[in-house]
Each structure stands twice: as C-alpha cells, then as structure tokens.
C-alpha cells in the first residue's frame, strides 16, 4: 500500500535533499581538507539539521534508511512500503 504524497511531502523531501547535499559536499571537501575546522563545524551543524528534518519526515512518510539506521515502524514494517524514489 502506497503512502499518500501531498505537497508537504515534496517540500520536506526537497529540504532534506538540500541539507544532505551540503553534507555530501562537505564530506568530499573534508576528505581532502581534514584539518579545516570551519568546515567541520558546518558539517556537524548540518548533520543535526538533517536529523531534525528527518525526525519530522519519517513518522509521516516512513523510514528513509535501511538496516536499522531508521526506526522500523510502530505497528507494521514500513520499510517495504511504496512509493520508491524513482516512482515519486
């Protein structure tokens, strides 16, 4: 059974995609600039911010990460529920 995708879903998802994209960019940057303290602070800031956004998203729309990195679901297994990323 697929989850209903309202406007809020798409808006929240894009905010998460934006925050996580900053984290990917900073990850690559820190891989080659491991001593840049300012970048490290920014990474840690965004890591918390991303977590906050996902804490709002996941109860409504299901877990984002597999293998226990997101909660499994209150009463039923949510991971296997659609829709999947290439479908939305």
């Amino acid at each position: 059974m697929n989850k209903k995708l309202d406007d809020e879903y798409y808006q929240l998802l894009e905010q998460i995609q934006a925050a996580d994209f900053v984290l990917v960019e900073l990850t690559h940057y820190l891989d080659t600039h491991p001593t840049d303290q300012q970048a490290l602070q920014q990474f840690n800031q965004f890591q918390l911010y991303s977590k906050q956004l996902k804490a709002v998203f996941e109860p409504k729309y299901g877990p984002l990460l597999g293998f226990g990195n997101s909660p499994g679901g209150e009463n039923k297994w949510e991971w296997g529920q659609g829709p999947w990323p290439w479908q939305v």
Partner: protein, 189 residues
C-alpha cells in the same frame, strides 16, 4: 558496508513523454564513462590506495551509485508507460525484444557493460589520473546529452550531474596533490 537511503539525491523530473531520449540516457547507466563504471572503478581502487585518500574514493564511489539511480529514474519515467509499438517507434525495438521495459547495463549503442571499461593499476598516481580522466569524460558525455535533449526537466538533472563531475575532478586532483606532498609542507593553491 552499504546502507540504502530511500530518496533520490536530487529531485528528478521529466517534462515530456519522449521515450526516444531513454536510448541516449542509458549511455550514462551502462556506458564506458557512466555512473556504474565510475562507482565500481573508485570502490575497487580504494583497497590498494594510500590510506590518506581511501575516504575520498569510498565517498565519491558511493555518491556515484546515487547518480546511477537518478539516470535509472529518468529512463524509467520515460519508458514506464510506453506500449510495445511506442518502444519500437522510439528506436527501442531491439531493447524491447529482449528486455521489455527493463533497464539494462548497456550503452546507447546497445553494447553491454564490461569491466574493461575500468582499470586498477595499483599505482596510486596512475589510478588517480584514470579517475580524473573518468570524471572529465563523464562531464563531456553529460554535455553531449544536454545538446541532444530538448526536455527542460531532464536537462536540469543532467546539468546537476555534470556539475558533480566538475567537483569530483577537483577532488581527485587534490588527492594527487596530497600524495605528491612532502611531509610537513602543505600547499593550498
């Protein structure tokens, strides 16, 4: 160990129903300079590269799978509602005869993916130069796809992917500088 995140890295949209484009986009799915080749190349090289750059190869390699998924999404959206006749009209008859609408790791000409697309010399400088070249070739391929696609939403995603290649190329060039560097002397510019 890999963990899957149930979201695309970038919101992929397709403006127009034009399955013909899928035939060209598949070049970056299963082609020589495509995202599968990139992911497997970097993730394989990382076992025998100096510790200082293993993180970079792991992280870029992982991101390439997210890009592979984006290309798959474009192809899927373009072909999911195509009838057999529409597939043939779009130049995808040969593909349909074998795969129906299933994706496959092949290039735009239909050649199947092969490990001969990648290298792992074990020499860090050779490996990193291969990686820089791979990123430039991928960047160029995205340019050619943008040239022949008239779909504004697809071009938006292709421009994102091209920009990622520019940044990755920078990182691999930095990795070379890191390996060239004598102990104690750090250069930024």
């Amino acid at each position: 160990m890999w963990v899957y995140e149930k979201k695309l890295q970038y919101p992929v949209r397709v403006s127009n129903c034009n399955p013909r484009l899928a035939k060209y986009l598949i070049e970056q799915y299963g082609g020589a300079d495509g995202e599968l080749a990139a992911a497997l190349r970097y993730l394989n090289q990382r076992y025998t590269i100096p510790d200082k750059v293993i993180g970079l190869l792991t992280d870029i390699g992982t991101e390439e799978f997210a890009h592979l998924e984006m290309i798959a999404t474009m192809v899927y959206k373009l072909t999911k509602d195509a009838t057999p006749q529409q597939m043939v009209a779009a130049g995808l008859g040969e593909h349909y005869a074998n795969h129906d609408g299933a994706l496959f790791y092949q290039n735009a000409a239909g050649d199947p993916w092969t490990a001969t697309y990648i290298q792992a010399k074990g020499d860090p400088i050779a490996d990193l130069y291969e990686d820089i070249a791979a990123e430039e070739k991928a960047r160029a391929t995205y340019q050619w796809l943008i040239d022949i696609s008239d779909d504004p939403d697809i071009n938006d995603s292709l421009r994102f992917l091209r920009e990622r290649e520019i940044v990755h190329s920078m990182r691999f060039r930095e990795a070379v500088e890191i390996l060239k560097e004598d102990k104690g002397k750090k250069k930024f510019f």
